[in-house]
Assembly symmetry: C2
């Protein structure tokens, strides 16, 4: 029996090594078009900035090491040209010698990944316009990236932001062009405000709601013509605007593709041809909650999909299906971390599903222990079942932990009541007696139980009286226009200052004191709502709100 | 309506403030015997060593701040002497004036906590013998703890270890006496080996399996007589050998107590008198998995129990029961962290329950990103349902995250299959493409699916051939007696060196390569088992094994 694997990074390598562990006899050949096998593609940006010093650390394996450990026949610089399904063979070209040969397969794994998108605009093929996918791309960028040079990164997603930071760290003058009106469209807009403030602090120019209509070479410079008419100048540019699945081979072989171009697979990663499997960035899978089709170009799902396919071939009835993805993701951007899991509010609105949401803040470890950093956590749940649908968080420490716990809760179909009673580890240097996740559970169940009505927009009711219940010093330092300040500590004694016939929008710094105040007010007959997350999310952490088509620097 | 609360720290304060948020009208009186209210008891050790510099940071509230924010009538230095259930009143003594008065209640909350145990041995009442429960205790210890002095800490649990580290940090000569044969009896013995090695590295003397039979004062010194006959000398001593519930008031009022002395409560924290609630260290609750009675003296459960009781009084049918505890706990000890959640192997053996276990190792973030630290994770599950029963971990970074994720998995009744497909956040500085929890899931399902047989003791089969599959350099640097070394990379070519009629115990550094090797061997007809967790757990990280009654330093 022979397994043929097209693509030797996350999904392909996971498939091949698991297959070998399950079966010593099978012949396994891995074809990789590039010159490197099983390299650490998520580490590439960090070598550009020097955070990962040695390039060697990014090369996790060689064909020889894979031969020795897993008895794999790995062929780099080998390009699969055509699949002949009727005769179960693949036409392969050696990129160095030019030789072609047909290789037979009993089972074929398609794990070619996805290629960075480059727009079809004049000038995009200029040699000083780059993308970043593999070690060779990284080497080209490093060769161009002398300190002091001007670079424009196009795309403010995860890879784009990592490139911005690393090139800035390397000493280049970096600018960012972002099609969307905010960074990281995978997250909700208010969640990424702190990251946008970092760009301001670091004096990195950014053009939101903008894209290049053409790129023009003028001697040693590139001129980028923005959709809003402005012209930006740079020594080189990098496109990081997303990826497209490398599904041409599958398409030409007549396999079923989704409209997006991704290869359609079943729960065991079989394509429409049961002898051909596919995994990783090239496939469409289902998201876990509503089984909606989704394509997630991340290393973790790819690696686990490869394993599922191998199990299906060799483990018979013991093989377990791929349960779907929830899209957990994270980015570190300078000293901040932003992460999310499950559904965003924006995606729920777009798919017209019911949801509730609240934003809460708490320190990542005990406030009385040095180094405590505030985490901002947005929780989203299903108001009918109480099940957690999604979560997003930002902060300087402990963000990954909270999102991982909530990813686990989503996979376990856990509810907002469960979050109240999550029993998390606590010692002052590592945790806090009521974790921000417990607090999110409390806030959500309080809303469910009608103890408080919460709003996400301070101006949701323009006729309401804005009531600031922060301590006087804070209210004076960060005033909010049109608000009256009655600190919580004196609220009970000053209720007569408020108009009982007028709606009250109550706010504080992080959303906790305003909840306390709202409880006092509603029990005294006032019509009061609490502003979720407090004005901390509006001021202090982030810069001026981004506007489409304008430069914010 | 009047609520009377006895005890103003975690459970009592959580009850009182939640009650106020639910009801503005009720009168709430909090009685606290000590001079401080709502203080950070978990922070006390850290102020002794100076990690938390300001003592003020440990006092979270004053009676005035609680009056202002929550309209609570807080009375410190007030001691509850007697409960008169028939007339629903409590006799209270003011410790400063000596005045006594009866206070009426409609509902009473007992949250008096637990007091540190001091053994009934001669000399234990010497003024230089301390315990640590509140700020006053802490002040007394600090007054005695001049740098250079000799102190003996008795008890190697969480608080004992924190005291050892902080007193060492303060410049004292610290010794430790531990009744158990290993540190932290809440965790399994092999899990705490790395912490025991830290004691050796820090030159802190420790006597395992030992206790004081008497303490004798000789001028300015204390002589502690060990059960094994040795005599230790110190300037002062601190007992940290556990706590006992302060349930005398409940007992005298005729409330039902458990044999352990804890107050018995129902799922809404009601005692045998429905108008009297109890919460925190004084009560017995249930552990979640088997509903076995358990008493857990930790701040998190206490805080949430107080909230449940308040909900039961004011929220009617919307009140939710306390779902039980799982006993998640953590300690930082010098640069190491040890944590656990759910059932330990030892506890499962003692209660004669079925379980399976495996130990795995992986870096806390990508190995190719600087600063990666190895985590050792022991996973325990139910072989029938696959449900996670417990987990323990040690390491220098990321331990809290893994234990919190697994605590969440336990509460969500998730299985080893779920762990394989946990979709955790991954960027090289924060996470790893296959997290140690995924790997534990892979290892556990491999065992379930009979792909590999794993043993936890290298010498489990004394007749077996020990096969070391580590690279030659590693095998030579850390040799294991009686083992032959055939590195994985050359195993397939050297199978004839092995005796097919003999059982093979295969090991490597962390348990991964030995699994690969075992797959090769069993598919070639050998009878091979893999050693769980590898010899990393035996050597390199920890010192010589502790022996009962011997000093290890």
């Amino acid at each position: 029996m022979r397994l043929l694997v097209i693509g030797g990074v996350a999904a392909g390598m996971s498939f091949a090594t698991r297959a070998r562990r399950l079966n010593e006899e099978v012949e396994i050949t891995v074809l990789e078009r590039g010159s490197d096998i099983s390299f650490a593609n998520c580490g590439l940006p960090f070598h550009i900035g020097g955070e990962i010093e040695s390039r060697d650390r990014l090369a996790l394996h060689t064909p020889l090491s894979l031969k020795n450990m897993f008895n794999l026949d790995v062929r780099t610089q080998n390009n699969a040209l055509q699949i002949d399904r009727s005769r179960k063979r693949v036409l392969v070209a050696d990129r160095l010698s030019g030789d072609q040969e047909w290789l037979h397969y009993d089972r074929l794994m398609l794990a070619p990944g996805a290629r960075p998108t480059v727009p079809l605009i004049p000038g995009a093929q200029d040699p000083a316009v780059f993308t970043l996918r593999n070690l060779e791309d990284m080497d080209r960028i490093i060769a161009a990236a002398d300190p002091g040079k001007r670079v424009i990164v196009i795309g403010g997603g995860y890879i784009g932001l990592e490139l911005v930071e690393q090139l800035h760290r390397r000493g280049l003058k970096v600018s960012l062009v972002q099609l969307h009106t905010h960074l990281l469209p995978q997250l909700d807009s208010q969640v990424v405000l702190p990251l946008q403030e970092v760009l301001v602090q670091q004096k990195i120019d950014v053009w939101y709601g903008n894209y290049f209509t053409s790129i023009e070479r003028q001697k040693d410079e590139l001129l980028g013509h923005l959709s809003t008419g402005e012209v930006l100048t740079a020594d080189f540019m990098i496109f990081a605007i997303g990826v497209r699945p490398e599904s041409e081979l599958a398409r030409d072989a007549g396999l079923v593709l989704a409209q997006t171009g991704h290869v359609v697979v079943n729960e065991f990663m079989q394509t429409s041809d049961p002898d051909i499997y596919a995994a990783g960035d090239v496939v469409q899978t289902r998201e876990r909650r509503f089984a909606q089709p989704v394509a997630i170009a991340l290393a973790g799902p790819a690696s686990r999909q490869g394993r599922v396919a191998a199990d299906h071939i060799f483990m018979g009835h013991l093989a377990r299906p791929y349960p779907g993805s929830i899209g957990t993701s994270i980015v570190r951007f300078f000293d901040l971390v932003a992460a999310g899991t499950g559904w965003t509010e924006q995606a729920l609105i777009e798919s017209r599903r019911n949801y509730e949401t609240v934003t809460v803040h708490e320190y990542h470890h005990s406030g009385f222990y040095p180094g405590a950093e505030l985490i901002s956590l947005k929780l989203i749940w299903d108001p009918d079942s109480g099940e957690v649908l999604g979560a997003q968080a930002t902060g300087r420490a402990g963000v990954d932990k909270r999102i991982d716990i909530l990813a686990t809760a989503i996979i376990g179909k856990m509810t907002i009541d469960d979050l109240c009673h999550l029993e998390l580890a606590y010692t002052p240097p590592h945790g806090i007696v009521r974790d921000v996740i417990n607090i999110a559970g409390f806030a959500a169940t309080n809303m469910r139980d009608n103890l408080v009505k919460v709003i996400s927009d301070l101006d949701e009711n323009p006729h309401a009286q804005l009531l600031d219940v922060r301590p006087k010093a804070l209210a004076e330092k960060y005033p909010v226009e049109g608000a009256i300040n009655i600190p919580l500590s004196s609220l009970r004694d000053n209720l007569e200052e408020l108009d009982r016939n007028r709606y009250l929008t109550v706010f504080c710094q992080v959303g906790r004191t305003s909840y306390f105040a709202t409880r006092i007010l509603t029990q005294n007959g006032f019509k009061a709502v609490s502003f979720s997350g407090g004005v901390k999310g509006l001021r202090g952490l982030q810069g001026p709100p981004a506007k489409a088509g304008t430069k914010s620097a």
